[in-house]
């Protein structure tokens, strides 16, 4: 990631030089390709129906970082196609609150899930110096890592126990393939001729159950992730 940042920063002065050294009367070259970096934060909604296990609450959300790079091709000034690779966390928080004898227990668990998503999308733009974009597409992904941290209960001495551990993926249970739709909107403006700065909001709507259908009577679990990102585009 650091290498790509350096490459873009090094490329920026070249772009400035290229711009200033061109004769004034020459029409500006149309640039079709761009490469960019984005970074931001996301907030994930873990969609699961706990049916009769009503004291397990998934109603608190956790934010996570999101960052990635993308390549875009713009055949027209208002239309472009992007493909990217995004590291994104789809985290969730579960609170198990219950009464046992006269004591009220709260056993929270925060699960951090690292994914790589590859969105492919079409972007529509309006405006000249400042552009407003709307985009939509599909994404595929892969679940890279899962980690959980929280509090549980030890029966032997009636105490709460803290844990902080990576979750080992189960070939039988975990569906590590992710896919879904992505859409959003953003605004961008060129700070110099070939460098564009932008911000966007985006949803990743997963349609892949994170569990494999390994048993009867298993309600699906999905992730819906909302991200706010800022980015830098370099037009080639």
């Amino acid at each position: 990631m650091q290498g790509i940042m350096c490459m873009l920063l090094l490329a920026a002065p070249t772009c400035l030089v290229a711009q200033t050294s061109e004769p004034v009367q020459t029409p500006p070259r149309t640039r079709h390709w761009n490469i960019g970096l984005t970074a931001g934060i996301d907030r994930n909604y873990h969609i699961v129906d706990m049916v009769y296990m009503t004291d397990m609450k998934f109603d608190k959300y956790r934010v996570g970082p999101v960052y990635g790079l993308h390549i875009g091709y713009a055949p027209l000034s208002w239309l472009s196609f992007n493909i990217g690779a995004v590291m994104i966390q789809k985290n969730y928080h579960m609170d198990h609150v219950f009464q046992y004898h006269s004591t009220r227990y709260s056993l929270p668990t925060t699960t951090t899930n690292d994914y790589i998503n590859v969105p492919v999308e079409m972007k529509l733009s309006v405006g000249r110096t400042v552009k407003v974009h709307a985009f939509g597409g599909v994404y595929g992904g892969y679940w890279l890592r899962s980690h959980r941290k929280g509090v549980t209960y030890s029966f032997s001495n009636d105490r709460e126990c803290h844990f902080d551990e990576d979750i080992e993926f189960s070939d039988k249970r975990d569906n590590r393939i992710d896919k879904g739709f992505t859409w959003g909107a953003g605004i961008s403006g060129k700070i110099i001729n070939c460098i564009e700065l932008g911000v966007e909001v985006r949803w990743y709507y997963g349609i892949e159950d994170i569990q494999k259908p390994y048993m009867r009577n298993l309600n699906p679990r999905y992730n819906t992730t909302f991200a706010i990102q800022a980015g830098l585009n370099y037009w080639l």
Partner: protein, 422 residues
């Protein structure tokens, strides 16, 4: 502009398509509270309850889906044509046969005949009845016996116990022997019942007056007691809270058995984190480390097995006898209290087990109670003893013929080991 309109329409269509791409969930009924009105409902509820709450799905090899496919039509035919008690019993045996959980017992109410049946899921390749009275008769002939009692405490808990001082390795020294049939020691100490003093006598003699809190002025703290035998043969287990005062007090330090986990969802593999299982050493513990033997047999179950494993874990501890039963994972039998805490283990109408009448709350329903482990438990090396049991250091099988002839071979082996050191 026309293009934008087209894209807008396409975008809305895609958004609607996306929402429909997710699978629908379905309602799962709470197996702890469901009232069944037919054979097939009883089957479906128990099947689903085990499907969602059973704590051993990560290891169990039973094909549970195949059991559904095979037995669902059978229970449907029971509703259509009726079933006699033998058919009913055999069908349920088939459903749970071979499940790993060695605690698992199904208590089923058939409202047609108003009868209750009980089925154990596990079957042991090695099993025997224990002639406990013959063992106690032999013990009473040993020199130095002080007390032997057999008392029931409350509706469900009983402690059958014996205590004596047996001649030790050194002249004038003794081996303190305690036998008890149930880990209901704390309950006994708090209960009021006829002849309470007599029932408590073996424990007071062995541990001391505060026997439910560990070792105080009992025989095990005496200087002339050089070794200890804790006889948990034919001990069906009981309250896990007894392990600290009754066993860990003899180890002089906290005992970590291993790790436990329960469920955090209805998926078969939705497990909580492993947490250490530590039994704290009570503040009243034995003053001086002494050789300890746990005497066990195939009918040593549950808490009694954990006790044997605790004794096996210390350098001065030895397990003598047979491998234990293999029901090593703890449970909470009271479903009204525990099911919604752990979402594992026992579920159903606990009156079938715990009430004095052993009848369901609704005798016209196809009531059920599934008695099953609440926690998965492994050793410090993450080895499960469920279905395996605790292996003895000195293996001595139960010998009914010799017992009938007045020789308790397992006790003899324990005494020989402590007296000769081999």
């Amino acid at each position: 502009m026309n293009n934008y309109r087209k894209f807008f329409v396409v975008g809305v269509a895609v958004a609607m398509l996306m929402v429909s791409c997710r699978k629908e969930g379905f309602d799962l009924q709470n197996p702890n509270t469901r009232t069944c009105k037919s054979y097939v409902e009883q089957f479906e509820t128990i099947w689903q309850g085990i499907n969602n709450t059973y704590v051993f799905w990560s290891r169990d090899t039973v094909d549970w889906e195949a059991r559904y496919a095979k037995y669902h039509p059978i229970f449907e035919s029971f509703d259509a044509h009726g079933a006699d008690s033998a058919e009913y019993l055999n069908a349920w045996r088939g459903v749970v046969n071979g499940l790993l959980d060695h605690h698992m017992t199904l208590l089923l109410w058939n409202p047609n005949g108003k009868y209750r049946i009980g089925i154990r899921a596990a079957s042991n390749s090695y099993s025997h009845e224990t002639d406990e009275m013959a063992q106690l008769n032999i013990l009473q002939k040993q020199p130095g016996i002080l007390d032997f009692t057999c008392y029931y405490v409350g509706n469900n808990n009983f402690v059958n116990s014996a205590y004596c001082l047996l001649p030790g390795k050194t002249a004038g020294k003794y081996i303190a022997y305690l036998r008890f049939s149930s880990f209901s020691i704390d309950t006994m100490s708090k209960a009021n019942f006829a002849n309470k003093d007599k029932a408590e006598a073996p424990f007071r003699a062995f541990y001391g007056d505060q026997y439910a809190e560990g070792v105080t002025n009992g025989a095990v703290n005496r200087d002339d007691v050089e070794a200890i035998i804790l006889d948990v043969r034919n001990n069906g287990g009981g309250y896990i809270t007894d392990i600290s005062p009754a066993v860990v007090s003899l180890l002089q330090k906290n005992y970590q058995h291993g790790y436990s986990r329960f469920k955090e969802g209805y998926g078969r593999l939705d497990y909580s984190s492993w947490v250490p299982v530590v039994f704290d050493c009570p503040k009243n513990y034995i003053k001086q480390a002494k050789p300890i033997v746990a005497l066990v047999d195939i009918n040593t179950v549950s808490s009694a097995e954990l006790s044997a494993q605790a004794i096996k874990s210390i350098p001065n501890g030895t397990v003598v006898g047979e491998r234990t039963y293999g029901a090593t994972c703890p449970l909470v039998a009271n479903t009204d209290r525990a099911f919604n805490v752990y979402y594992t283990g026992c579920f159903g109408d606990q009156d079938l087990l715990l009430s004095s009448e052993k009848r369901p709350r609704d005798p016209n329903s196809y009531a059920y109670y599934v008695y099953s482990s609440t926690f998965d438990l492994v050793t410090n090396e993450y080895q499960s003893l469920e279905g395996v049991g605790v292996q003895p250091d000195i293996k001595v099988l139960y010998d009914a013929d010799k017992l009938a002839a007045g020789v308790d071979t397992q006790l003899e082996a324990a005494l020989e080991f402590l007296r000769k050191g081999n």
